[in-house]
């Protein structure tokens, strides 16, 4: 995963990793009796033939994955995210497009087909995640960025997981997810950690709620749309769990650094200072810009009166004011969390989108009902009903991130540096952001858009 990595090595490692991913995916297909579908590619319904075909495809795609991420300088934990997005993409390209074409059928691009293909999506995600992890394991000896998680970081993860788990009513899952987070965590600030945690939480929903628990308690594996819809109410919980663990994990790390580290080099790299104050102002401004974009959606959907209920009013004007105030506060929080984390427009929009999705889960699905006295509805229907708001939140995030980046770029270009040492640090940070963040942004947006549609009832 360094620059010197040869394409051939990457392809071989990728192929081996793909083999591992394929085995995991194949196992779930065998349990659910879907191998025959794959076998139809070679015009038979023999399960063994299906498995063979499946493994060949998995190996080839794995090699492709290896080539894809070999240039990426991703940290170990981050390759998993590239694996996830790789798997998700192949779900679009494979079972929805190429497989039907091979069989001489129309492509399965409609929602109903996609819903019946939900098990396949889960399988592809599993494939991607396992391939990513296996790729990391294979590269372990040569990867300078790989660090074995220390005992204290696992303890941190456990504490964070337990706290969030208790809060969300998922204590055991929280503990496990917390320990797991320590493995994929990367030394980064709270904002990027939050985005990482959001994706991590979604992966845990697939892993724990949809996979392990049915396997453990019912000894079955059912990834069908019906089963997923039944467990949809756990998705926001797991997303919040993941994001919460990531944030708490990071903060506990900061706290322990502040309290117990005697080496100043490890404690702080840059003081907030006057530019920090200015950044807050920029955040508020960017928040206003995002809020105005969001207003279009809010007005079209007529959600202002609902927002106004937060202050006990029913008028649309009060709703607009409350909406703009919240937009500004979130903008400021964005500045705190993502200051100096966007180095070009794409990264600004990427962070903003991910942050918008997080606030859809926490704000629209959770806090808004709590504040307005309506019951929290995390069910499949509730998630589907929140879809317009999701679009608004994504638009808000995109505008927020873009405007904030422009403002920051104007006054405080952290990527423009004075010395070689600083330049190297900056390049390192940019590489770190590029290493994993794009996968997380894209994955966040993809799951944000398709999951509500897939789990909701028939269109």
């Amino acid at each position: 995963m360094t620059d010197v990595m040869k394409a051939r090595d990457a392809a071989i490692s990728g192929a081996l990793a793909g083999l591992a991913g394929g085995a995991a995916f194949g196992a779930t297909m065998a349990i659910q009796g879907q191998l025959a579908t794959v076998a139809s590619i070679v015009h038979t319904d023999n399960v063994v033939a299906g498995l063979a075909v499946h493994m060949v495809i998995a190996t080839v795609l794995g090699a492709g994955f290896g080539l894809l991420v070999s240039r990426q300088r991703a940290r170990a934990g981050e390759t998993v995210f590239w694996g996830l997005i790789y798997g998700a993409f192949w779900w679009f390209l494979g079972p929805q497009t190429l497989l039907p074409l091979f069989l001489g059928q129309p492509v399965a691009w409609d929602l109903t087909s996609a819903q019946t293909l939900l098990p396949s999506l889960m399988g592809h995600l599993l494939y991607g995640a396992v391939t990513g992890i296996a790729f990391v394991v294979l590269q372990q000896d040569t990867d300078p960025l790989w660090q074995r998680p220390s005992r204290s970081s696992i303890l941190r993860g456990l504490i964070a997981g337990l706290v969030l788990g208790l809060l969300l009513g998922l204590p055991w899952e929280g503990l496990l997810a917390g320990a797991g987070y320590a493995l994929i965590a990367s030394p980064e600030s709270t904002g990027p950690a939050l985005v990482r945690g959001t994706v991590y939480g979604f992966a845990w929903w697939v892993f724990a709620a949809l996979t392990v628990e049915p396997l453990l308690f019912n000894v079955t594996l059912d990834w069908s749309q019906k089963a997923a819809a039944a467990d949809a109410h756990l998705m926001p919980a797991y997303v919040l769990l993941g994001a919460g663990i990531a944030v708490l994990y990071t903060w506990l790390g900061l706290l322990s650094t502040v309290l117990f580290t005697d080496d100043i080099r490890l404690v702080r790299t840059e003081a907030a200072g006057k530019r920090g104050l200015r950044a807050l102002g920029y955040g508020a401004l960017a928040g206003i810009a995002g809020g105005l974009v969001f207003t279009v959606v809010m007005a079209a959907v007529g959600e202002f009166p609902l927002v106004a209920q937060m202050i006990g009013s029913h008028s649309a004007v009060a709703g607009f004011v409350v909406h703009m105030v919240i937009a500004q506060i979130l903008g400021i929080s964005y500045a705190v969390l993502f200051r100096r984390r966007s180095f070009d427009l794409t990264s600004g929009i990427g962070w903003g989108l991910s942050y918008g999705f997080f606030w859809w889960t926490l704000g629209d699905l959770t806090l808004l009902p709590l504040f307005t006295g309506t019951p929290v509805d995390w069910s499949a229907a509730g998630i589907a009903a929140g879809f317009p708001s999701l679009v608004g939140h994504l638009a808000y995030g995109a505008a927020l991130g873009a405007v904030y980046h422009r403002l920051e770029r104007r006054a405080n270009p952290w990527w423009q540096t004075r010395s070689k040492a600083v330049a190297e640090r900056t390049v390192a940070r940019r590489d770190q952001i590029r290493g994993a963040a794009p996968a997380m942004w894209v994955f966040t947006v993809l799951i944000a858009l398709i999951i509500p549609m897939l789990v909701a009832g028939a269109p």
């Binding site: 240039r71 691009w109 794409t346 994504l394 270009p413 794009p438 894209v442 858009l449």
Partner: protein
């Protein structure tokens, strides 16, 4: 621009397989649908080209950016634009999204293929480009001097570089901080901490290369600046902003026995010296020596001199309760000035007011008189009056600290007689467009710094530099405790109002929020606590205190 074109090509090329797929699946049938899809593909391709511009990002990054753009494109086109085109308000509901789901799949695939194509196209293109275009040279600019003008120029250059100017700026200064000179007198009186009125240049101009050192000479023929350390800096454009140094006109004893007040070290030395004298005077029994110890003379009644005498008065009387051996009427303060009134920069009324305020406190003045000689324990005036004193502050003359002789510039700030050398600040005589020269004050220096940066950028870009035009906005002089005089845009202020103005304006002009807060804290604590009398240097700079 070229990259956007490649993006468009990639977008359209990627639209081909997806389009064929959609056509064979009877998703797009009519002609307008094709056109819309082609337009969509074009927009996505151009956007991806813009996003991926100039970055040698990996395939994964470009392809995933394509997927992201595809998903966002679905939101923007299928969910928003299409209903609008059909005359329906978009609802963004899950039902509407479900209906357009096929387009989401198509867009995601299209985005990924666009990214894939663009990556390889751009890869080939940038390689060619690298061969064709040598790395562009940045114009080398050296700024000498870390005062208001030099730092303002460096900051302006940073802004210009952000806007795309190809400049490489180095700032050379023999102090690594920007000193806020208007508050220097308050440091001399111990009201402010020295570090609080100075901002490190490395933080004030964070993106400029900073060199801590003294310039030995400038060779404008071969365009080189030679530092005392021997280091040689080549330049394309040189900005001289070296400021001014005290000028004693060769008068005997003055250079040796006077305290200048130009930099932080001067202010600290003066404060320590005064406190040491007070310590000595507290126990001194000889009346003549006591008079020497407790007499404070300032030569020059411009801003610096007037503020210094007022601040010295505040210092001595502010800490006198610590020294029971010194009677309140004993300390004597004398302001010597060659002109017929103090504060020539101010109007006659305000100058008269200032003199009256100082005189009311018992500060003596000698007008139309020059200091002709100074010794360790006395000062001689033009009229042969001898003032016995061990504290003689010289603010009566400054000369440009020029490395290359007297510097006169044209109105566009170019130094006369030298190519590609520019001069700003106190070291340069800069003609005003309608006659005369710009005064050597901070507000002019700041503007000159900015203007010279703009002018150099203009010359580098092949444009003509513009004339420097600026008129003094206002002048402010502090007259000690809660009193000041000010003239701002022709309006005159005096007393407490002027004092509040002085503090408010200068506080806001301090470089950086941090320093502003620190000075504000200093001032606030000053309301409740007495002035500090800690002597911070071990040995006197000059042996002004000695046992008799």
């Amino acid at each position: 621009m070229e990259q956007l074109g490649w993006g468009a090509v990639a977008g359209l090329a990627a639209a081909l397989p997806v389009g064929v797929l959609m056509a064979t699946q009877h998703m797009v049938t009519a002609f307008p649908g094709w056109l819309a899809f082609a337009a969509y593909a074009l927009v996505i391709g151009v956007a991806l080209g813009a996003v991926a511009r100039g970055t040698r990002q990996g395939l994964a990054m470009t392809a995933s950016a394509g997927v992201l753009l595809g998903a966002l494109g679905w939101l923007a086109f299928s969910l928003t634009l299409e209903p609008l085109l059909h005359g329906v308000l978009p609802t963004w509901s899950a039902v509407a999204a479900a209906k357009t789901y096929p387009e989401l799949v198509g867009n995601v695939l299209h985005g990924a293929i666009t990214g894939l194509l663009l990556h390889f196209v751009v890869g080939v293109w940038t390689m060619k480009e690298r061969v064709r275009r040598a790395p562009s040279e940045r114009t080398k600019i050296v700024v000498v001097g870390g005062g208001f003008a030099g730092v303002a120029a460096a900051q302006r250059f940073e802004r210009l570089v952000l806007r795309g100017a190809k400049l490489d700026v180095t700032l050379v200064s023999d102090s690594n901080f920007l000193l806020f000179t208007p508050m220097l007198a308050e440091v001399a009186s111990g009201a402010l901490e020295p570090a609080h009125i100075s901002a490190p240049i490395r933080s004030a101009a964070a993106h400029t290369t900073f060199l801590y050192g003294r310039v030995d000479r400038v060779d404008s023929v071969v365009r080189e600046v030679v530092l005392e350390s021997g280091e040689v800096l080549g330049y394309d454009h040189l900005v001289l902003a070296v400021g001014s140094v005290p000028h004693t006109f060769g008068l005997p004893g003055i250079a040796e026995h006077s305290f200048p007040l130009k930099n932080l070290a001067d202010a600290v030395a003066l404060r320590n010296h005064v406190l040491r004298l007070l310590e000595a005077a507290d126990r001194e029994t000889d009346p003549r020596t006591r008079r020497e110890l407790l007499t404070f003379v300032v030569a020059g009644a411009g801003f610096a001199g007037t503020e210094t005498i007022a601040e010295l008065f505040d210092l001595v009387h502010g800490v006198s309760h610590y020294y029971p051996g010194i009677a309140p009427e004993e300390p004597r303060f004398v302001l010597v000035h060659a002109g017929d009134r103090i504060l020539p920069e101010l109007g006659p009324e305000l100058a008269a007011y200032s003199m009256e305020r100082l005189a009311a406190r018992g500060i003596e003045h000698r007008l139309k008189l020059r200091v002709t000689e100074a010794a360790e324990d006395l000062v001689r005036l033009e009229n042969d009056e001898l003032i016995a004193t061990r504290t003689f502050v010289w603010t009566a003359g400054n000369k440009p600290a020029s490395l290359v002789g007297a510097l006169t510039t044209d109105t566009a700030l170019r130094a006369e007689g030298m190519d590609n050398v520019w001069a700003v600040g106190d070291c340069a005589r800069i003609p005003v467009v309608d006659g005369g020269f710009h005064p050597p004050t901070a507000q002019h220096a700041l503007r000159q710094g900015k203007a010279v940066a703009d002018n150099i950028a203009a010359v580098v870009a092949g444009r003509t530099p513009v004339e420097f035009r600026f008129h003094t906005i206002g002048v402010l002089v502090a007259l000690g405790h809660r009193t000041a005089a000010a003239e701002i845009r022709g309006r005159r202020f005096a007393g407490l109002v002027a004092w509040l103005l002085w503090r408010g304006i200068y506080l806001s002009k301090l470089p950086g929020v941090e320093k502003r807060l620190r000075v504000l804290f200093d001032w606030t604590l000053d309301l409740v606590f007495p002035r500090d009398i800690v002597v911070t240097s071990a040995t006197p700079r000059k042996s002004k205190v000695r046992a008799r």
